[in-house]
Amino acid sequence: MAERTDARTWTHRAVFLMLAFVIIVAQLVPLDMRPTAWAAPDLLLVITLVWVARKPRYLPVLVIAFVFLAADFLFQRPPGLWAALVVMLTETIRRQHREFRQMPLFVEWGTITFGVVAITVLNRLALAITMVPQAPLGLTLIQMIGTILIYPLVVLIAHFIFGVSRAAPGEVGSRGQRI
């Protein structure tokens, strides 16, 4: 976090916040109050993972914690638990993002899959230990699988629309700092 940041990074941070806001609000819009038999992928989680795996500079850990804590509060989830798990996962990915540069997408995708499954299981485990009523297992699984499957698509969208792609080896920022 002590790295110097240029204007472009700040713009990208603002873009991420806007995107997160739009996703949260879109989920809150009251369209159909009938319970559904399936659950949509967790878009907020996917974009966070893509951003962290591709350009971790654009996504400080405090922003992640804030966005997911707010989502926990707004979506009636137990506050804090999911946010903490997501922060842990993104920190793990952040530490590996340099290795991702040289790897094919499949390896990155595999790591992400493992991470998403891990935090989903941990979430259910924590809720079971603290005896909090849980969401139906089927829905959780559908959401988890959807979240994993949509990852490459979001990678493409992030690359072509939002300009979030892997930094080439040796690439430097506008002030010559390391990325």
């Binding site: 976090m1 609000v25 109050m33 979506f75 506050p79 804090g80 922060v87």
Partner: protein, 307 residues
Amino acid sequence: MAKDKNSEDYVGPIRRLAVGLLVLVLFGIFLFWRIDSPRAERLRAEAIDTFVPSFAWAMAPINGVINLISDFESYQQLRAQNQDLRRELQQMKAWKEAALQLEQENAKLLDLNNVSLDPQLTYVTGVVITDSGSPFRQSVLVNVGARDGIIDGWPTMDGIGLVGRIAGVGQNTSRVMLLTDTSSRIPVTIQPSGQNAILGGDNTLNPPLEFLEDTAMVRPGDRVVSSGDGGVFPADLLVGQVALGTDNRLRVRLAADYQRLEFLRVLRSQPHEEIPDPTDLLAPEAEFFGPAALTPSALTTSEVGDG
């Protein structure tokens, strides 16, 4: 990692410590919520109360676009819809006649019996602002709150049937837990057999009936109304109709239109008058006749009553 060790040598550990602290704080929030749930939920209600109503400007365009799309779809089916509506109108006319006759008959009977309906059941109408935003929770936020005198636990209806109950009140907003939520349990009565059951939400559109004494007496199509047991809900609010689910359980087809909840009525439900001691209900002690009236205690009370 190895090639940029020099740049992260001093930042790394501090950053890791800070992140660790952050995770601890987040887990701390979760534990606080777990230990003191009512207080945390009140905090949540206050936070939502402050922020969500100001999201309206962001929701308006999304709502607009989706309405546009659905309107466009309905234009395409205009002809089919028109025919359907006409057929329905024919049926409705027949029903209207029947309803008018029944209304007159009902009014006459009420008059004959001198029945006074519960006058205390008034309502506040609110607009739905948001839904729960997650497929695992079935609740909506309405724009009436403590400011309008809303109290936790009050029943909520749309124009026709019961929708849910108030669970969480903020200053300007309150949350309505729908009947379909997994933690919703409502005591109901099934008409005409008079069987009591619990309507337990299970995240499906048609919640199952639980703890039914005699399933043989209940048929699909029977009316389900709230029973008022436990003093939580007023009695006789329409919930829906019994239906046999594909899993052979008795479920309820809800009367409220869950597809589009826009306006909700929050009923001001007054607490039941409690009858703590059944003997007081039968008659005042002084008016007992026979041997019981001759005991000294009964005599004194009757004298007091006379004087």
